[in-house]
């Protein structure tokens, strides 16, 4: 596979505050790639540098393809209507968006309402349609499902998968770990302006090790435990409860989410 984007030694400071400190990573063509990080880790700054929306101090950014950028809400005039915006973007980019895409994103349903009256989900769909007007090879999605209800999230995830299926490279910034686990081929976790981790979600789990959360419910309440050795820990806990004469009414075991792993890597633990 070829590289759609290559970032080398990217640095950016705001005054004395270093936001990006020699950032290096690459994104392969046709993959869904996520940038993760706690607030202030440099996600938005790095995305905006790549998108050309922000100047950077040093480093190199190589882009192989046309970019389409889905901006967050509040980036269109209040009174513009969906189809007017699509037409304007198409004229700017000397392209046209096919009816099938507009239909799939439900843009025709929104045609009568001004932008400020659209719901968060409707705005996200419109911004995705606008990003697609350039017929991009690489699509940037910033918090694509933030503020969407479950149905909206599922629908947008399906649309993102369809875009991948037709060969688009997708880069998204997200706080939603479930979304990242569901959608992304690879992730990069930023911490202190550098890449703290890059790879697949599964590789991250293997790198950090297996973690289990045990939730035991008794008649008097619920207690939670964390362990790396599920067999011994569970046996030991059951014996302890028996010795204390407590009746267990329910037990739940889960492997923890990527979110927990992510927080550990992001904090440098």
């Amino acid at each position: 596979m070829n590289e759609a984007i290559k970032i080398s030694n990217l640095s950016k400071s705001y005054g004395t505050h270093i936001v990006l400190n020699g950032l290096d990573f690459s994104v392969q063509q046709g993959e869904i790639f996520a940038l993760l990080g706690v607030n202030g880790a440099g996600k938005t700054t790095s995305l905006e540098c790549i998108e050309g929306l922000r100047k950077y101090d040093s480093g190199n950014i190589t882009i192989n393809g046309i970019m389409g950028i889905q901006l967050q809400s509040a980036s269109l005039p209040k009174y513009i209507k969906a189809l007017e915006a699509v037409k304007l973007f198409a004229k700017w980019n000397k392209t046209s968006l096919d009816r099938a895409t507009l239909d799939a994103l439900g843009i025709y349903e929104l045609s009568k309402k001004p932008y400020y009256q659209l719901s968060t989900g409707q705005k996200r769909r419109l911004h995705l349609a606008l990003a697609l007007t350039r017929n991009p090879d690489i699509l940037f999605l910033d918090e694509p499902t933030a503020g969407l209800d479950v149905e909206g999230q599922i629908s947008l995830h399906e649309q993102i998968r369809q875009l991948k299926a037709i060969g688009k490279t997708i880069i998204l910034a997200s706080h939603d770990m479930a979304e990242v686990e569901n959608l992304c081929d690879r992730i990069a976790i930023l911490s202190g302006g550098r890449v703290a981790y890059i790879g697949t979600v599964d590789q991250l789990s293997q790198t950090i090790g297996k973690h289990y959360n045990i939730t035991i419910q008794t008649e008097t309440g619920t207690e939670k435990y964390e362990t790396e050795n599920i067999g011994d820990s569970l046996l030991s806990l059951l014996m302890q409860y028996r010795e204390r004469g407590k009746t267990i009414t329910d037990i739940q075991i889960d492997r923890g989410s990527l979110e927990q792993h992510f927080i550990k890597v992001a904090k440098g633990e």
Binding site: L71, Y79, K91
Partner: protein, 237 residues
């Protein structure tokens, strides 16, 4: 070119949908005309000679200084400017489109006043209509250019309104449209000359073209263009 013309037409529609511009470019100037036109012509019948000019100076100054800056703040103090960048569109386009649209609205409002004043208050039509409309065209352009500085320099709507009003009040009060400028204390007369409104009123009431008047507008315009260029560069960076 197609994208530019579509942008102008779209901005024109957006301005009509925006109540702010509708109020500042049409409703308030026309209400002011109805009320003050009635008062002026009753108290001072001789005011009919320059009623069209005085009402137009008020309307254009209001529409430009109070109507335009909020549209610019909406573009340049929000993520809308990122949309321009993301699509490879120069940032100046937002400034150009809002100015052209506001220009058309203000010209239309001025035509309404030009036609209504003689019918409603027996106002005198300027002796040289061609000269009058050229003067009006220059005055609207310069007023909008000054208003653009406010819209680009100030980053939130509340402060924009405050700055606009701070400039609007002396502009109209000291321009000579309410009372003869010669009756004002010298200091106020001098302050009045710092704003385009006083020069606009002078230009539109004189039926001959004076280079001195035009030079002043040219200076205002060059100053505004330089300021807007600096402010746009600052926004871009």
């Amino acid at each position: 070119m197609g994208a530019f013309l579509y942008g102008v037409a779209l901005q024109w529609k957006l301005d009509i949908r925006s109540k702010t511009l509708l109020i500042t470019c049409y409703i308030v100037p026309l209400l002011f005309f109805i009320i003050m036109g009635g008062i002026f012509t009753s108290v001072m019948p001789e005011s009919r000679a320059a009623l069209i000019q005085s009402m137009t100076v008020f309307g254009v100054t209001m529409g430009a200084l109070i109507g335009l800056p909020p549209s610019l703040v909406e573009i340049y103090s929000s993520d809308i400017k990122k949309v321009y960048k993301a699509n490879g569109v120069p940032l100046i386009l937002g400034l150009a489109l809002t100015n052209i649209s506001a220009y058309i609205h203000l010209f239309l409002m001025s035509i309404i006043l030009y036609l209504a004043a003689p019918l409603a208050f027996h106002a005198e039509i300027p002796e040289n209509p061609g000269m009058y409309f050229i003067s009006l065209a220059v005055f609207i352009a310069v007023s909008l250019s000054i208003a653009s500085i406010i819209g680009l320099a100030v980053k939130d709507q509340a402060k924009t309104s405050m700055f606009s009003i701070i400039i609007f009040i002396p502009s109209t009060m000291l321009s000579g449209i309410m009372f003869p400028i010669e009756l004002l204390p010298k200091a106020f007369e001098t302050i009045g000359k710092l704003f385009p409104a006083s020069w606009g009123y002078k230009l539109m009431t004189e039926d001959i073209f004076k280079f001195e008047n035009l030079l002043t507008f040219l200076l205002f315009f060059v100053f505004a263009v330089v300021m807007c260029h600096i402010l746009l560069r600052r926004i871009e960076n």
